[in-house]
């Protein structure tokens, strides 16, 4: 049996696992335009030189991420995928977005962090699973423990 989905959300964090997630998302839909590539940014909360003296703003960050989303989509044969940049807490924003778009699947890579790093960074995948109202496909890294 082949599972078929009409609206698939793939959170992209531009890590090494992102291309794999996009390809898995593509496998689940018959047309790349049914794919949503989204990236969640934390609102600007820094006094970096770029913010205080340069042109860094939430707007510039959003534009930059959109460029990067376009690039990663094109590089992974998903040029027609829809793209969105959101601000807020990654786990919640992903599930909210999926709900608003009536998505039927979220494909998310798990970084396989463990120990201290997991404790500190938490797991976006965990939060997505907890809050999602649709199916969630968690891609495990081959070297995850």
């Amino acid at each position: 049996m082949t599972l078929s989905f009409t609206n698939v959300v793939v959170p992209v964090d531009f890590s090494g696992e992102s291309p794999q997630a996009i390809r898995a998302g593509l496998d689940a839909v018959d047309d790349a335009s049914k794919l949503h590539l989204i990236h969640v940014l934390l609102p600007l909360d820094s006094l970096s030189p770029g913010v205080l003296l340069g042109d860094t703003s939430d707007e510039s960050r959003k534009n930059r991420v959109e460029e990067n989303l376009t690039k990663i989509a094109e590089d992974n044969s998903a040029a027609t995928a829809r793209r969105a940049v959101l601000f807020g807490s990654p786990g919640l924003e992903v599930t909210d977005y999926a709900r608003h778009q009536s998505a039927d699947l979220i494909v998310i890579p798990s970084h396989g962090y463990h120990g201290m790093k997991r404790l500190v960074l938490g797991s976006v995948a965990e939060r997505v699973i907890r809050h999602a109202t649709c199916s969630v496909l968690v891609l495990r890294r081959s070297d995850a423990e």
Binding site: H39, L42, S46, L47, P49, V51, L52, L53, S60
Partner: protein, 683 residues
């Protein structure tokens, strides 16, 4: 862990000792009312109480003191960072304020032994002793021969000196003796200095300085000895800076004109990766470095080390240009550009990632974490408490009516500054911070002009001042100890001010838009030049020309012994132009504010490196709390704390940077060859 506990216990013990001195009312509050009364009776000149009462009261005070020491030395709380700061910085201070009779009592030596016993062997190796005896019993009219004074000093110090015989770093000592006016004259000063020198210098101390201060009517006679040692970290920074200067083929000199061209924007390319222009990156880094270190720190260096400290400060600044070049080049090489275009870089990244490339991954990770930890504490000390503390000193000194209000007004200003910091770093009102940072170059200019104006008014004195600076850099001056001590003061305050080798500036410089890491490194070498060679030297010349460095001058001696550097600069300027202190007070507040904002970013980046971006609010709250703490802490404590923490960052940084210097040299050679062949297009 055990070592850290014992060190912490020692630290607590010493801190308590210092607090007991700083807050005499607290000590007397522990006495019964009768004892408080008898304590009041100990004012100089009041001889009404029988001697036996006096001894009894002194013994009580001593017992209370002992109890405090026992209580706190028994409390060992694990705090691993304290071990590092404490031991590596090679500085401990033990201060006592005791009544006259206490010196003769057997409890005195047992007290010293108990404090001493609480110091671990490791601590003692780098420990440096400071003893402060306040002889409140002696009246101004008492005839005291110097033989007796020296004998008392010897007896008092002997147990400490004996215990410290295994010390490897017992270096410089700084004595201040307060005596009645009649006793105070130059031949006498020489006698005392010689006696002390022959007593201690040959055997235990490498250098020693003695200065005399006139006894104010009603003031207690004091004997204050500070042995600040030769901090290993200062040697570490200097050796590092010399090494980098040689390794990079004197980039500090040959890269200078190119640095100015790059900063002027002649190589700017808006399409290069990064967030800010070269000039903006330099401004951001300067706003962190140009601060109270340039105004207060320099004055302290000259007050303690004499005019010769200026010379060594300039040398340290010039050498530091090379350190800054290497670390900021590495900051660019190993920066991480996030998907949203924000750049994250700094010593923690090049230490962990750079050393991993060399096959030293575990070492790199440890050094990266160590650096980040140090940087967090340094941002609270030198980047925060020191700035608040000294800027309030400057304001109080400029407006005497505020000084009269004492700690209340300090606390009020501290709360106000904390509020202004909080609205920016927590409230997110970035415009204020942005404006403060943007006007740093302007304020630098204003400050240099103020100083230049004073120099022009005293033009005829400038050659003499310069020759005094150079002469006293190489020849010991009466009252300022041996050359080594002067050199240490100069180097220490230069390092504290320009942060070369400390690794902090790499965080700011990594944001620059460039495809050539070396190019930003070259821009960065201007930082110690502007900070130390220009701004610090201006402060120095003002202090030297106005004579504010002279501890024998009663207008300045108290400011020097209180380490009130900002106040000293204010007074030096007031002696020339009455209203200069007001301009200075404004400049100082702005410098302090922009430095705090910049350091809060450094600290926050390091916090995020260790604990992730999500928890940085915890750090920000701690930072704001330290603004208030800094306003009410004693200047000496703040200065020591700041020194320890900022210079503590230099350990992981210089080690890592030295290991990575080969890579920087190759990149520099490649860049230089392209530059010389005209490959770089200048728009």
């Amino acid at each position: 862990m055990k070592r850290s506990r014992s060190s912490f216990a020692a630290l607590v013990t010493l801190a308590v000792a210092a607090v007991l001195v700083a807050l005499p009312p607290v000590c007397s509050a522990q006495h019964t009312p009768t004892e408080v009364e008898s304590s009041d009776d100990l004012n100089p000149g009041d001889e009404t109480k029988p001697e036996s009462d006096f001894r009894k009261s002194a013994a009580n005070t001593l017992r209370e003191f002992e109890k405090q020491v026992d209580k706190y030395s028994g409390q060992a709380v694990g705090f691993i960072a304290s071990l590092f700061f404490y031991e590596f910085a090679g500085h401990s201070e033990f201060t006592m304020k005791l009544e006259e009779a206490a010196f003769d009592s057997p409890q005195f030596s047992s007290l010293i032994s108990s404090v001493d016993a609480s110091l671990s062997d490791d601590t003692r190796k780098t420990a440096v002793w400071s003893v402060k005896f306040v002889r409140s019993r002696l009246s101004e009219d008492d005839a005291v021969s110097f033989d007796a004074e020296i004998a008392a000093i010897r007896d008092a110090i002997q147990p400490l000196m004996d215990n410290a015989s295994s010390a490897v770093n017992l270096g410089e000592a700084d004595f201040t003796i307060t005596l009645a006016k009649g006793d105070l004259n130059q031949p006498v000063a020489s006698v005392v200095a010689d006696a002390l020198r022959s007593e201690f210098c040959s055997s235990k101390l490498r250098s020693l300085s003695v200065s005399l201060k006139e006894l104010e009517p009603g003031e207690a006679r004091t004997f204050h000895a500070v042995n600040s040692g030769i901090p290993i970290v200062v040697a570490w920074l200097v050796v590092g800076a010399v090494f980098f200067t040689l390794r990079m083929g004197f980039i500090n000199i040959r890269g200078f004109t190119h640095a100015i061209r790059v900063t002027a924007g002649r190589y700017d390319n808006p399409d290069d990766e990064g967030e800010v222009t070269h000039f903006q990156a330099l401004t951001a880094a300067l706003s962190a470095t140009v601060g109270l270190g340039n105004i207060a720190g320099v004055a302290i260096a000259i007050g303690v080390g004499g005019p010769g400290a200026t010379f060594w400060m300039i040398i340290a600044g010039i050498l530091g240009m090379s350190s800054k070049f290497v670390e900021c080049t590495l900051g660019q090489m190993y920066r991480q550009v996030r998907p949203d275009g924000q750049v994250m870089g700094g010593a923690m990244y090049y230490l962990s990632n750079g050393l991993r490339e060399l096959g030293l991954g575990p070492l790199g990770r440890v050094l990266g974490i160590l650096f980040a930890l140090m940087c967090i504490f340094a941002s609270l000390g030198g980047g925060n408490a020191f700035q608040v503390n000294q800027s309030i000193n400057a304001v109080q000194q400029a407006f005497p009516q505020l000084e009269a209000m004492g700690i209340t007004v300090r606390f009020a200003i501290g709360v106000a500054m904390a509020f202004l910091v909080a609205v920016v770093i927590i409230g997110g009102i970035r415009r204020i911070a942005s404006t403060a940072e943007k006007i740093v170059p302007l304020m630098c200019g204003v400050y240099v002009l103020l100083c230049a104006y004073i120099l022009i008014m005293n033009l005829s004195a400038v050659p003499d001042a310069c020759s005094l600076i150079v002469k006293s850099a190489f020849t010991p001056q009466a009252g300022y100890g041996a050359i080594l001590g002067v050199l240490v003061q100069g180097f220490k305050r230069a390092a504290f001010s320009n942060e070369a080798g400390v690794g902090s500036a790499a965080i700011a410089h990594s944001a620059a838009k460039t495809d050539y890491p070396v190019r930003e490194g070259i821009v960065a070498l201007l930082e110690p030049f502007i900070d130390t060679v220009v701004v610090c030297t201006m402060t120095s010349l003002v202090i030297v020309i106005t004579g504010a460095w002279d501890i024998n001058n009663e207008a300045y001696s108290a400011l020097i012994s209180d380490r009130n550097g900002a106040g000293l600069t204010v007074e030096a300027m007031r002696s020339q132009i009455q209203w200069f202190p007001y301009v200075l007070a404004v400049a100082v507040m702005l410098f302090a504010y922009s430095t705090m904002i910049s350091w809060s970013y450094y600290g926050e980046r390091c916090w995020a490196y260790l604990f992730g971006d999500h928890s940085s609010m915890v750090y920000k709250i701690i930072f704001v709390v330290f603004v208030v703490l800094g306003s009410v802490m004693s200047a000496t404590n703040v200065l020591d704390l700041s020194d320890l923490m900022i210079l503590g960052m230099a350990f992981p940084n210089v080690l890592g940077v030295a290991l990575l210097s080969g890579k920087v040299r190759r990149a520099l050679d490649d860049y230089w060859q392209k530059l010389k062949s005209g490959e770089f297009h200048q728009p």
